[in-house]
Every structure is written in C-alpha cells, then in structure tokens.
Amino acid sequence: MTDQPAPLKRVLRFMGDNPIIPLIILLIMLIGVLEYMRPGIVNERWMGNTIKFAIPLAMLAACQTLTMLTGGIDLSAAVAATISAFVMATQVPIMGVPLAICIGLIPAILIGLVNGFGVAFCRVHPLIMTLGTGLIGTGCLQVYQRFVIATGSVVPDGLAWLGTGRTWGLPNSLLLFVPFAVVVIWAQRRTGFGRLLYALGSNQTASRISGVRSWQVLLALYALSGLIAGVTGLLYVGLIKAPSLSLVNPLLLPSVAAAVIGGTSIFGGRGGYAGTIVGALILTVLGTLLTLMQMPEGARRILFGLIILAVTTIYIRLTDQSR
C-alpha cells in the first residue's frame, strides 16, 4: 500500500466492495444521455416500458447467473423458454389455461434435468451440453408444431395482463418479478443451496473434501434453471402475444451479457443476481439509445457489441481487488 492520494483510492475501494454502485451510476448516466438526446423522453411511460422489457431479460439472465456461479452456463434457457411458451399457447384451446401452463413447464424442466445429468454425470462441459440440448429442443419443437398446426394458439388473458398490463403506471410483471428477485437474492446468500453454488464455482476439490456431492447440486441447479426459463417464456409470450418457434431466442446472448455486465464471473464463484438485474436494465436502456440514434442496423450492432465489451472490461478492472 503506497501513500497515494487518498480520495480517489477510497472511492475505488468503496466501489470494489460494493460492485453494484458503479453499475447503478452507469445506468443513470445512460438515462442522462438519453434525456439529453431526446429531451422529455424519460417519463413515467418510458420507464414503465423499459422495466417491462427488462424483466423477461433479467429473468432469463437468472438462469445464466445461477449456472455461472458454479462455472457453468445455460445456453438452452432461451429454447426452454420458447418451448414452454409455444406448448402452453397451443395447449390452451385443448386443455384450458391452468393445465396448459403446467404442461408447458414440463419440457423446460426436462431440458434442465437432461442438462444436469450431462454436466454432473457425463462430465460434459455445460457450454456444449446446453448448446446441444438447446438444438435438440428446437428440433423437437418443430416436430411438435406439425402435430398441433390445426389447433391454433391462444395467449391467455391472465398472461397478457401480467406481461403488458399496468397498474397505477407500474407494469404488472413486477408482481411476478419482485418476489422472484427477492427470493433469488435471498437464496444465493442465505440458503445452503445458494452457498454450495458459490462453493462449487470456487473450488470443486475443496467442496468434495467438505462432503459436497456435486451431482446433487448440479442436477438441482440445471432443473431449476429450466424451470425459471419456462416461467420466463410464459411471461414473455404474454408481452409479445404471438407465440413463434423462435420467440425468446433473441434474448439468449443478451441474457449472458446481462449476467457478465452485472459482475458474475463466467469462471464461477463470484457475482450475484442483484448485479444481473442492473445489467439487464443497462442493456435495455442501451438498446433504446441505439435505436434512437437512427443508425443502420449493422452499425448499431457493432456499437452495441463494442459498448458491452468496454463496460465489462472497465467494470472488471474497477472491481478487481485480487492483486
């Protein structure tokens, strides 16, 4: 420790200990830029919309955050979500709403269990395993579509209300999301299961020596990730109102980006869901910002990619306390 000018150092130290602070500052800055470019755009209506679109992203990013804590990833999450949404919507005319929702969630959990089995027992790298099950899931969905092509699809009113509705200016999806986020943030720190995610991501050998059977944790984790993805799909179809075979797929890579920007290490053992939520908000605001710039699509994507890289790099530098 050298005698550097104290204030700057202290600010950096503070941000290192509370990694969510710089993220929130960045979010506010982005909103400021937006307001500067289009004065008056930032109003209650805009905020409601932003939150509405950020929520499904943040929920899908929960799958990434939780699996990343163990050093994994869930690339099948978007497919699981799409399948849930599509199956549910096509089953509503046949089965009725409650049963259709249950049936819709089953394939998502199944994908998660297969992922867990592959990662825990066959020792397939999660990246490959979930990529594979995602592709298989997409294929199965196409086959499924041929059988139900005649039945048509219905998005239940309840889900549409939850996905798009507002109450006192606030999006109704917060009714689902706030309890969800509270439970995830609580569980990651204050439950045995949550702690074991961090433990496995930090050191498999140490966890093993301590008596942790990693297959139990991984199986439960990926099944849980599938379930969260399924619920996300149901919420998202309520927002978009048109089930398709690639409904949630565009959210997959942003969900990974949201977790990483939010400070979760892809190598495991570090991070948490609170950061991911802010990450999802940042990505959503950034999307609006770039749309407003009226650039060609190509340039917009390039800029989007560059900004994500820059933010992640700076953020990691800023919060890295390990010498």
């Binding site: 439950t191 045995g192 050191n203 050998t205």
Partner: protein, 498 residues
C-alpha cells in the same frame, strides 16, 4: 578432495545463490563433478535441492556465484543452452508429449533414432514400437524412454532426478548398471535419489545441501549413511523439544480406526495401523512413499485397491468423501489451495461442511451458524482482518481455516496432511497445541508431517512409511530426528525391500 587434479572438473559450481523475494532459497551451493564420476545430490525437504538443479539446468538464473563447464564460466539463460553444452537432465515427471507417438517425440527433440533404440533395448524394454502413442505406455516405460532419449544425445553430464522412483526392481538394476557403465566410459552423472541403497551401489560421492548451502562432500564408503543423515539435519539435532505428557492414549477399549493391509495401486502397497481415541499418530515418510494415497483413501478421495478400513469394529468403504465424513473421518489436504474457496469469505469456508447434505440446502440458521463459526475462529485465533476473501490471508491463517472447518463441524477423526508446511513458527506452535487439545478431548488425529522436528511436539506415536509399506513404529518420545530420518530412508534393516 585433492586426490587427483587430472582430469579437471567437468562441471564446477561454487557460491551459487538465489533468492525469491524475501526468501533465500540458496546462498552458498557448490558442486564439483569430474569425468567418470557419479555424485549424489542430497538434502532434506526445503534444503534448496530443486532450486539448485533448476539453476544447473538453466531453468532458473542464479543471482550470484559461478558455474564453470570445463573451466569456462557459463550462465545459462535457458534449458536449451544447457543442453547444448552437454548437460542433459532427466526429470522425475515424464517429459514426453502424451498425445504424440514415440517417433514424433524423437523428432521434436531432434533425438537420433538409432542410438535411441539401442539404449531402449539396452535398458530392458523389448518390443517398443515407434508408432506407439505415449499416453498408452506405462509410466515405467516412459521413464526408460526419457533416459534412453537423454543417453542417445550423448551427454557429458547427465542429471537424473529420482530416476528409479516408478520402476520395478529388474529395471532399476538395468538402469543402475547402465548409468555406472556410462560413467566408467567418462560421462559424469548427478544422481538425485531418496534411496541410500542405490546411492551406495553406484555413486562415488555425495554432496549434501542444507538450508541453501552445500555443507559437505563425502566419498561413498560403507557407513557413510549416518554421516549424511547428520549433515542433512545439522544443528537441528541439538534442539530437543519438550515432550508433551501426551500419554492420553485412550485406556478405553480397542483402536478407533484400524487400517489393515491397505493398498492403492503401486504407490501404497501394504499399510496397517491402529489409531486410538485421544491419540495423535504421526506419519513420517519421504516424498512419494505412498502417504498421499494413504490419506486420500482414508478420506474417501480415492478407492483402495486392497486391504480394509475398520472403524469401531465396522468394516467401511467410501465412495465419496461424504461417506468418510459420515464415519467421522475428516481431511485437511496438504495443498491448501485444494481445501479452500479462495475467493470466498472465512465464514463461508468454515461453514461449508455444515451445508453439504441436501437436507441442509434450505434456509441457513444464520445465528447458530455464526456462533459455530465464531467459536472455531476464536479457538484457532484466526486473524480476522481480512475475512472477506480467504486468498488475502497469510498461509498460516489459511491453514487454520481448513482446520477450523472441521472444528465447527465437530471433530472425530482428523486426517492432517502436512498441516505446517510453509507456515511461520508461531502458527506451527498453535497447531501443535490445538492438535494436542483435540486429542485430549477424545479425538483421533493422523498427522503426516514432512518436518521431522515437530514429531515429538505433536505426536504420541509415529509410523514410518517407506516404499508403500510401514517400516517402523516408534514412540514419539524416542523419535529424535536421526532415528526418524534413518527409518524414513529405509535404513532400519527390518522390512527392507530385498
């Protein structure tokens, strides 16, 4: 050593020093090697042997001192340069690329094929095919291939590091014979081994390192072993730590843990021992004599290939460390990095075993967890200034965390593998005291240590393992370093491998 000034030394190192940050690894290492001579390089753990070897072979640069080859000052900046001037090492770990076949490996090292094959058959490996993939060959064959490759490039100085460690007896004889014959033809050999018998068989002299300096250069004559052991230990002999009145060995009943004829692969061959309640049983062995396997098998990390483990009269077998933990066997690994969640807090590290079973996956009782963790922290006097991340703690405090984990979970049988490696004296004392205290409360402790001096301070009895077998059981009161060192080198006479 002024017997014959002709021929001049082939390799002469003097006053070699090396420091890593604040740690002085070498300060005055010396070695002299004439053509046709085999010199054993010896030293206890941490004497600086491996640093010296790395400097000689160009893997590290020295800070000070001289290395002369045929009288000319050299300062190798890379292993390749050292090779060019005729110094070829054969290291303990096979250095062939596993996914290539033999021919490709030879091509990479620019080894001439004909002489290589000659040496391979000379050393006793028949029917080697050049298109065999390296990773399909047994370890012993790989060692021979390494040696043959070195011999094929006609070294002037050959450096053999634990060459015979993984070899069956017949191959050992072949290797020793070949090396001796090469020396007689004028090559010089630096021979590193834990086995006195081999050194006595082929070496001309022994250079002994202690605490980073060469302390002796002895011709090999019958009975020199005692002198070498004394030189390796040095002044440490005089310190005679006060014995604990540790005879708390349970008067109650039979042994708590019985190990019978335990074997794991080729490393651990036949170990039997009894561990009583209230006893600290030391384990002493040179590196790689099977002690790692013994501890890992008892901890449920690996499956034994033979023998049995009996706990309180029940034969047990472990498929996972969780099974061993269920039977009360808890493990503190030798490599701290294997035992810790480096990025997580002290608290999370200590509480980990409490949460391992699926029944404990729910909400954590934060208050009761905190009290157990804080008890362990207080009992071990863990420095709590850097609680946030274990990687910011000192080595000693990290070690306390790995032990504290089992104290918080409740100790029954503790398997401590070299718990004091690389930590400061004060913390070492605390660990001895803790171990004694745990034993006094009825726990059983199996305590492997690479530091012989601490055996009387921590243990009640000590078993000595050599070459995968128990060669001696000594009461700690009689376990001075000399006795232990002799036993560890297999010099006790009884149970020596033929």
């Amino acid at each position: 050593m002024t017997d014959n000034q002709n021929p001049p030394p082939l390799l002469e190192a003097s006053g070699v020093s090396k420091r890593f940050g604040a740690v002085v690894a070498l300060h005055d290492a010396a070695l002299r090697l004439r053509p046709g001579e085999i010199v054993a390089l010896m030293g206890a753990n941490g004497a600086g042997k491996s640093t010296f070897v790395k400097i000689l072979t160009g893997a590290l640069r020295r800070d000070n001192g001289h290395i002369r080859i045929r009288g000319a000052d050299t300062n190798f900046s890379s292993p390749a340069q050292a090779r060019k001037s005729g110094l070829i090492p054969v290291y303990q770990e096979p250095s062939l690329i596993p996914d290539l076949d033999v021919a490709d490996n030879l091509r990479l090292g620019q080894t001439p094929v004909e002489p290589f094959l000659h040496w391979v058959s000379e050393l006793g490996i028949a029917n080697l095919r050049l298109d065999d993939t390296i990773n399909r060959l047994p370890l012993a064959t790989l060692r021979i291939l390494d040696l043959a490759r070195a011999l094929a490039s006609e070294p002037e100085v050959l450096l053999l590091d634990e060459m015979t460690a993984a070899l069956p007896t017949d191959l050992v004889e072949r290797v020793l014979g070949t090396v001796r014959a090469q020396a007689d033809k004028g090559q010089a050999v630096i021979y590193i081994s834990h086995r006195f018998a081999e050194i006595a068989q082929i070496c001309d002299s022994a250079t002994v390192l202690r605490d980073g300096a060469t302390v002796g250069d002895l011709p090999i004559v019958p009975g020199v072993e005692e002198q070498v052991v004394e030189l390796m230990l040095g002044a440490a002999l005089e310190t005679n730590p006060t014995r604990k009145a540790g005879a708390a060995r349970a008067a109650s009943g039979g042994p708590h843990v019985q190990v019978r004829n335990l074997a794991v692969g080729t490393k651990l061959r036949d170990v039997s021992l009894d561990l009583h309640r209230g006893e600290v049983l030391g384990v002493v062995a040179l590196e790689g004599q099977g002690q790692d396997e013994l501890f890992e098998a008892l901890a449920g990390m690996i499956r034994p290939t033979g023998g049995k483990i009996v706990i309180d009269d029940a034969a047990v077998s472990f498929a996972h460390p969780a099974d061993a933990i269920a039977w009360g066997l808890t493990f503190v690994p030798g490599n701290r990095a294997d035992g810790l969640l480096m990025q997580r807090s002290v608290h999370e590290n200590i509480a980990l075993p409490l949460l391992a079973r699926p029944g404990k996956w729910g909400a954590i009782g934060m208050a009761s967890e905190a009290s157990r963790v804080n008890d362990a922290i207080a009992r071990l006097q863990i420095d709590t200034r850097a609680m946030g991340e274990v990687q910011r703690l000192s080595g000693g405090n990290q070690q306390k965390v790995t032990i504290g984990r089992w104290i918080a979970a409740g100790v029954d049988t503790l398997l401590l593998f070299d718990p004091t490696r690389g930590i400061d004296v004060r913390t070492k004392r605390q660990i001895y005291l803790l171990v004694r205290e745990l034993a006094a409360q009825g726990a059983s402790v199996l305590y492997y240590t690479s530091e012989l001096a601490e055996v009387p301070a921590a243990c009640d009895r000590v078993v000595v393992i050599f070459n995968g077998k128990v060669v001696d059981v000594i009461e700690a009161a009689e376990a001075d370093e000399q006795t232990l060192m002799r036993a560890a080198y297999g010099l006790t006479g009884e149970a020596l491998p033929a």
